[in-house]
């Protein structure tokens, strides 16, 4: 126990004190933020105020469309991701003119104005075009899908309103009739109701997948490298004369694991501090209420998954002699991870089908699949317990196996072991 602790402490301190750890810990959130913010920024930058001309045969209709377009600038989707619209400042307001002269000469004149940048675009909205339900946007840049749906919804709304008013409805009545329907989802879990959209649930799963991937890729490799380093530097022999190989492996796994957790914790705190003010202003995220049960499951499945995959890396480190060889064998670890992601959709759709139940028990898939099931629809407790037990058993088994191979690693140099050789070593390493 003491030895495991000493080894854990060494692994942890040696890594945390390096400059690269500091740089990665501080820089990565910056890079991530930049990666997330920049595209959004670029999108809004392209979205500066536009000068649009509506060409229509009926000035009254044109004015209504103008009002509608100004009232709802660029279509807003009802759910997440639409924080750009509505935030526009008054000076960013689009300028929209109505032109009641739908002639070919006017069309040519407008074209020139677009090319000479006097206006940004014009919308050909004559009665003919409306009758054909086919209006044309003429601009320097083709309208993106958001602009197109904005235009189509706004124009459509006014057309429907006009049609309805000819049937004797007032504009207010027509508006009432045309109000979109919003669907809200409420999940009942153990008698308690949680508000949450499917996207919110998906996000909880995606965060797990992302974190597990990152932790496994960054720190799994780190475990592998550390096992290899001890073999190549031959310090392994000195260590084995002081501690058992199981103590060494356990200490190493927990030590490197703790480094990863430290980094994630630092990031979580940074993210919390940076994001809290904007989160508080963001009513959408209220839907992301995470129940304590899911939080606990997240913690447990993340830790065990991380440990399991790191142990697999350690085993690869034990049977190889160079990092290149180790990286060639990495697919053994990546495949179960990728498979879990592939199976995610069926699992979310039918979380209690027999196939899903048993697949989510497989220790290599459980961190993602069983967790996904818990998020979507709490499975029976025995299934969760069984999957946790299976994972713990697999981790312990792998640690013992890996420790044995590691011990025999003293005897070999130079080349990667074949499977029969590994089996033979396990025989030498008995007791």
């Amino acid at each position: 126990m003491r030895n495991t602790w000493l080894i854990l402490k060494r692994e942890y301190l040696q890594r945390v004190r390096t400059r690269s750890f500091l740089v990665l810990t501080l820089l990565l959130p910056g890079i991530m933020t930049a990666l997330m913010v920049l595209p959004a920024k670029m999108a809004t930058m392209g979205q500066k105020a536009q000068h649009i001309v509506l060409v229509t045969s009926n000035p009254q209709f044109g004015e209504k469309v103008r009002q509608q377009l100004l009232a709802a600038p660029v279509a807003e989707e009802e759910d997440e991701g639409s924080d750009r619209a509505g935030k526009r400042k008054p000076e960013d307001q689009d300028i929209i003119d109505v032109d009641a002269n739908p002639t070919d000469s006017e069309r040519a004149a407008l074209r020139d104005k677009v090319s000479t940048r006097q206006i940004d675009a014009f919308l050909w909205l004559t009665d003919d075009a409306i009758a054909a339900r086919d209006v044309t946007w003429n601009g320097r840049e083709t309208a993106d899908f958001r602009e197109r749906s904005w235009l189509s919804e706004s124009v459509g709304h006014i057309i429907q309103q006009r049609e309805l008013s000819t049937k004797g409805l007032t504009d207010a009545q027509a508006d009432e009739l045309l109000k979109p329907v919003k669907v809200e989802t409420v999940r009942i879990e153990g008698g308690r109701e949680t508000k949450g959209s499917g996207t919110g649930r998906l996000l909880e799963i995606v965060v797990m997948v992302m974190l597990l991937y990152m932790a496994v890729l960054f720190y799994g490799i780190s475990v592998m490298r550390s096992v290899l380093e001890e073999k190549t530097s031959r310090i392994i022999e000195v260590l084995l004369s002081s501690a058992s190989s199981t103590e060494l492996m356990a200490g190493k796994l927990l030590g490197v694991g703790a480094v990863g957790l430290t980094q994630i914790l630092v990031w979580a705190i940074m993210a919390g501090v940076i994001a809290f003010p904007s989160l508080a202003l963001q009513p959408d995220l209220g839907e992301l209420q995470i129940s304590p049960g899911v939080m606990a499951a997240f913690g447990l499945f993340f830790l065990l998954g991380y440990l399991l995959y790191s142990t697999m890396y350690a085993t690869i480190g034990a049977i190889t002699t160079t990092e290149q060889e180790g990286q060639q064998l990495q697919f053994l670890i990546i495949i179960p991870l990728v498979l879990s992601v592939f199976m995610l959709m069926p699992v979310i759709r039918t979380p209690d089908s027999a196939a899903v139940v048993w697949l989510s028990m497989v220790p290599f898939f459980a961190p993602i699949l069983m967790y996904a099931r818990i998020v979507v629809e709490t499975p029976p407790l025995w299934q969760i317990a069984l999957s946790l037990l299976l994972m713990i058993a697999t981790v312990s088994g792998l640690v013992v196996l890996c420790a044995r191979i590691y011990r025999i690693g003293v005897l070999i140099y130079g080349k990667r072991a074949t499977l029969p050789e590994i089996l033979k070593w396990l025989k030498y390493a008995k007791a």
Binding site: R10, S241, S242
Partner: protein, 320 residues
């Protein structure tokens, strides 16, 4: 197998009874890797206190033997007894080990590294620090304690590793080729430390193929070849049994006396002098008369056989 039979110590075929005085005892220990027999029914007993030399050509099974004593590999058959008890993990804390394959964490600082090794052997952090500092002082490493191991020269790293092996004041110290890579000055410091420890009652197992070191340092030896002990026991007794059969001659002039096969079995010309092995039953005085008649003699000395000769003779015989 003349030498083995001639020694007082039990030979490889006999079973050694348990003896309280022994620090380490191997009874019919065997280790095979597939077809290859690394150690075959090896028996040896290392008495408490003093320096015991484990000798043998490359691939004789020295490292395998040491690794089995260190519990790194497990024997296929036979028993290993230490301090009068069957070997268990807990004994390791009283062992100090300098493996032939040196290895340290290159990115760790010297003092930190030593403290880590000491703690693994059960020392408290404070005690390990105190001892590490005092040993570094003795080995002239004080200026380097805050440097990373990787920045040290190979010789210095070796000193660090040696300190790491003895920091916890072990009862049994196993050194695999401890002098390789050390300059003469540091080799002297190391030798002094080893002799000091031996005098204070520690048992040191010195594995090497450097005969001169064994000859100077060890009280007892075991010569192994092909995984078997071919010669084991007290060094002086072994030499005495071998007899004064060698003569060192420094001469000037006719070397014809060397061809006298009646007296000279073989000779080895070292340039400045020749070493002559007398034929069985030959009288050294007769050779002296013969040589002085033809050549001018600067030196004529009857010698103990060097361990090297014993080694070559024994290994040659068992190989044949």
């Amino acid at each position: 197998m003349n030498f083995a039979q001639a020694t007082a110590a039990p030979t490889s075929s006999s079973v050694i009874s348990s003896n309280r005085e022994d620090t380490v005892q191997l009874n019919n220990v065997r280790k095979c890797y597939d077809e290859f027999v690394a150690v075959a029914d090896l028996n040896l007993s290392i008495k408490a206190g003093g320096i015991y030399g484990l000798l043998g050509p490359n691939g004789a099974g020295k490292t395998s033997t040491i690794r089995m004593i260190m519990g790194i590999i497990v024997p296929d058959a036979g028993q290993i007894t230490v301090f009068g008890e069957p070997l268990i993990r807990a004994h390791m804390d009283r062992f100090g080990y300098l493996p032939e394959e040196r290895g340290l964490y290159r990115k760790m600082k010297v003092l930190e590294h030593l403290v880590f090794l000491g703690q693994l052997k059960g020392l408290s952090g404070a005690e390990a620090t105190k001892r590490a500092k005092s040993w570094c002082d003795r080995f002239d490493l004080t200026a380097w304690t805050d440097k990373k191991v990787g920045e040290l020269s190979k010789g210095m790293q070796q000193k660090v590793q040696f300190i790491g092996a003895i920091l916890h004041d072990p009862r049994l110290i196993i050194m695999d080729e401890p002098f390789t890579g050390l300059d003469p000055a540091n080799a002297v410091v190391l030798k002094d430390v080893l002799l000091e420890m031996a005098k204070s009652g520690k048992t040191i197992l010195l594995s090497t193929h450097r005969m001169d070191q064994v000859e100077r340092l060890c009280q007892s030896i075991c010569l192994i070849n092909h995984g078997r002990a071919v010669l084991e026991g007290d060094l002086n007794q072994i030499k005495a049994r071998y007899g004064r059969q060698n003569v060192q001659i420094k001469y000037d002039g006719d070397a014809g006396f060397l061809q006298e096969t009646r007296l000279v079995q073989s000779f080895n010309d070292y340039g400045n002098y020749v070493e002559v092995q007398l034929a069985p039953g030959a009288d050294s005085q007769e050779l002296l008369r013969l040589a002085s008649a033809k050549a001018r003699l600067d030196k004529f000395e009857l010698m103990e056989p060097s361990l090297e000769e014993i080694f070559i003779a024994v290994v040659g015989k068992t190989n044949a």
